[in-house]
Symmetry: T
Subunit: 144 residues, 12 copies
């Protein structure tokens, strides 16, 4: 079972970017951790990061025939990219939205996700664990 | 490690209530499943269901000395109970908000959670799996 | 044919409470009148009053197997109790919302009913007659 | 006791118009039924239908000396005709607003009635029964 | 100099309609008064009343070649008739909006005039004097 | 194939009305042009103009058995006539909304069309060409 | 009969200030004209101009015993000075709000008058004639 | 003179709950202090705390015959409980709303009190002193 | 201990201004009463009244070195004067906002206080007693 | 005459993506059809598809010297890309906005087009015919 | 070249007022610095500070003949003084709005400037440097 | 000291694009001017232009180690790109937002900057001078 993890805008700076909010773990460390988690769960995980909205759309499109599910942290695109929302709705495999921080407890504009309604579900606020939980969720969903 | 699962308003009718939305599994079946999941994770799980807002508040208060964490599905109170939100903020143990359905994809009033900002995080849209994932999340959070 | 009449918050003070708005008839008098109306219509009417939101939810749940229909005046819960709205949607028997006063002609917050969309219909503004008309409506609906 | 029933815009197409919403009964059938109901209640019922906002206003004006009460389904004018609302307020006989469907459970723009606050009360969601119940209500109101 | 006075919806009931708001003077009395005022000012006044929105539009259209100016009380159409607003903008003679009551001191929906921006000016709150002042205004405007 | 073209409020003044916005072509010229276009497309075109909202509703109703499709420019009724929107929804033949000017580039109130959602589609901003394009569209739609 | 005319903020620059909007007549010319009009009407007119909100309030207070009525152009204070609105409400003599330009046809913030509801009426859009019409109105009101 | 003090939701955790906001004094200490203040003022004070909305409503109802006045801190119910607001309006003795913290300086949702308009007055932001001041206020109000 | 009482806009007319709302007590009487209350509490009270926003700002600035606390009734400036709010925030002594009437129960614009968040607390709705209670509050706050 | 057709985000999945909404025709089929239509109309059509907002902007910029007009379906960028709107406004050749579905009849966020006001006109709701009609429109516009 | 610098409400307390926001530099120090900067740039700078809205208006009026340009920090008047905005629009010399702090990053009410649209431009967030940059800007603008 | 100037969407068309708004100077001319200004100020300036949102994000990321500060004109991304805002917040060097035109005086959507709150400050409305002033500002900020 293959799963694609897509990290959205500005997540390449994790570890360095506002560490009081996002922690000191780098994206490379998170990805290594997710591959390890994947191995335990019998999931072949691949991780990509894109600052570009259209690169995320292209990745979603391409994944629809190669992967069984997607874990997506759109970054700030969460709050306005109806184009990514349409891409999620356009493909048939489940997409799980994740966020490192509890976006409900931050600035008002972060309280609205325009992509969540197109996703299968969302996991929010657990730091890097949000991704790991999403892998668990996908495995359970796809095994049934 | 003891964890309390609180099911909010109308969840006692699960299995019978709008099954096209909420599925056919009863609350008793979900609770049995959570106890089993808890056993595997080394968590002593207790499950309660309350239609009463104040009973949920009382349960949150009481849990603060007896449990290490809480999994809470407030039901419709999610959308207006600032009193439950205050109760979550008033206690020091982590609370994880869960929802069976993807509330972002339903009626507009379900898109606002007044309780989420007081919680540690939220897991939304995975049916009964939302609860199981919350147990995983709590174990990881509390073990660190 | 059995029908349950549920009076919501503050209706126990009818007759005494703001009589210029709600009239001088007490709830006991209204209930006696409804039993009499029920007898004429061949309906076995039972009346309860609850100030508690969860007591109303519990009454709605319990009624689903014992009654053929429900007449509900949620009182002020009309304007914010999504939990009662969910309870109405969760049961399969018809619920008719009634109000003594014409809520469209009062304060702005009374113009919004969050429960009405889950009901079969509503009858508003006829004083105690609103309840009697609801009994008529239920009998017609259930006889067809 | 004479009562005027005014059917507003597009109600002449009843039976043919969106029957999944409005049923298959024609307006002529509803009117026949209302005359019959009127006979039972000792009410002389007259029914008119107008697609024109000003025809409804004129009918309301004219009725003020010839009828004891009015049953009005303004159709879509419900949602914006302050002119009809003013006409209702300008006459002294009671007007009851009725709707076939539960407008609280339909599109957002149907949730607002600009005419209801000028009426004595409203009966919503019972199909053609809404009119019959309004006749009952008027008889009770006028007999007291 | 010929001037047309157009009274809008429900103004035919003046004198009888909510006299605490609109006074006890009838429309015929107001019109007689306006003809008299016109005579003094050297204005040939003609007065019409229409409950129909399109009759008002037609009157505005027709007046554009026969009259030098228009005094218009749109009644409740003030608050939503963009069609009347367009008719005012479509003709080249000045239109003055008048209201009997101070609409700024009444219900919120009366605070918005969608027609005023297309008019030359407006005179509000002086009872029947509003019309007389509008005649004065037109004479001054047209004499310059 | 017969098609009805309905011109709404104030369009009778075309050519004279705000020519900087609407051009100098009269409605008669546009209608002549549409009949000519119809002949080329094998469509029997009939054109009517109504300032009255209810006349438009009546025309829509009557057309449902006599025409295969309708081209409708509601004029300012576009922005508030839910009654016309209901009439469009009530009939089964396709209605195409057209506007001479690009209403998206004008005043804010013109940006909302309450009728468009009931139509098959809309063609906006091409002057009199909007109508011609609508005839093309109808022929294609009805030929398939 | 003595009447006070109060010109509000920035009106001292009339004639020089945005003449395409406000005309080229200076305030001194308008005042001279108003004194002349007053003489014809038998009104002793006094004119003051204040850029200061509190000076306008003080003038309103002081006028309540010395004048029979007030003509007030609050300038931009129209749109936010609840303190001036309270001052108008606090005194018992009639205040008429006037504006030179048709504020309904200008920027959105100018469409709201917070002072108008406390006034007896308003006259808007007639240039310096607005003031003259207000003197006419006051004389009529006070003579009755 | 007997006065009832009602503490609302989550106030039982005072001293422990977010002490940086609410201070370290416990509810028992506050109540002891209020009894002492009452003794000095000649008021027989009784204090209750309820997390339940309906318990607060019941307490308000019951108090109407036994007490001369009520001091009420509704806790978070302040912001949405129209049912408590109705209960306050339904009884005839004065109710004073108090808050420990300056709710105007906290989260946006705390800026709206739906209960305040039904109260005699409110005292906000003085910590436990808010209650004491309310006792002073009641004594003055009731002595007059 | 010296305390400054600042009465804002229009309060000089107390006793005469809308007595059904504000009572018949004059400002001089209230001030005499406050001096007396101050004497009992060991507070040297000084009272000033300003219709001018900037005079209030200047008084707040000047008071910061001469007084221990301030009691402020901003009058209508409450609802829009961010400049007064900034002045309150700019000084370090506590300011208590008071209102004679229960502003929560009046017009919508009076429900918003832009100054309250900068104050230590507020006391609303007790007539002249609001000021006296504020003196009590200040003494307690400053004595601790 | 050369015309550029730009398909925006997610349109590359046409035929496969939500076929109940967008139909089963692929983009390649639509493009072939447009080239054919172009040939009939004497238009040299070129079609491109971009998921990238900036690629659309670059295409618009480049087209300004090579093409006579543009047909643009921005996809979801319609609803938020002010950058594309600016690009349309920055070039001098006419751009026609098209949509396959009737966006007025879908989710609320699709009812707002931020790009339409910069376009010459728009054609909405005719499936692939929308593009063909736009070619007709461009030919007519450019031939005049 | 003479330039007037106007400091608005509360800026006289700079250095003392909320120094964590506004720094410890006093207004006198800033003014000395601006005179020095002016000397270097060949600008004769004069600085005034007014807490009074009308004093700012008067200063703007007076400056129109004596100065070539104005640097204005309206303080909190920025957010609501349409009267100052009108004064800026009424004079013909350029006005540059400056703010010490980045008002876009503070409370929501500070995000709206009602004066900025009347100014030539604005410089925000650079502390006392904002003023200096404005002098540079004016010199460049006026030299061209 | 090295500073990066980033021009956002559509700025490559400067000189040609809506010259009545943006002037006739090309971007190359502006860049040459900025290099010259940099040389005078001892700043090594590099200028880039990107129509792509993600290219701007990448440029901001890359600049964080190579430049001391950034001057950014996001173009239309100003109004919705939370991703660019996050990128600005993620890096530690100061970013100054500039705009050629006074965006406060244009269309409503241009009045909101979602990026400004993450910047150090902003300079708006001075044409190409906005950039030069930003270089001055950066040098002063970085020299302190």
């Amino acid at each position: 079972m293959r799963v694609l993890v897509i990290h959205g805008a500005n997540l390449n700076l994790l570890g360095e970017r506002e560490p009081q909010l996002y922690g000191t773990q780098t994206l490379a460390e998170i990805d290594a951790d997710l591959l390890e988690t994947g191995r335990k769960l019998g999931i072949e995980v691949r991780c990509v990061q894109h600052n570009s909205e259209s690169a995320i759309i292209d990745a979603l499109h391409a994944a629809r025939t190669e992967y069984r599910g997607i874990v997506l942290n759109p970054g700030a695109y969460t709050h306005y990219s109806y184009a990514i929302a349409d891409a999620i709705a356009a493909i048939r495999i489940p997409v799980i939205e994740v966020h490192l921080t509890n976006i409900a407890a931050r600035e008002p504009h972060r309280r609205t996700s325009v992509t969540a309604s197109a996703c299968a579900g969302s996991i929010v606020g657990f730091g890097a664990r949000s991704y790991r939980l999403a892998l668990h969720a996908l495995r359970e969903m796809l095994e049934e």
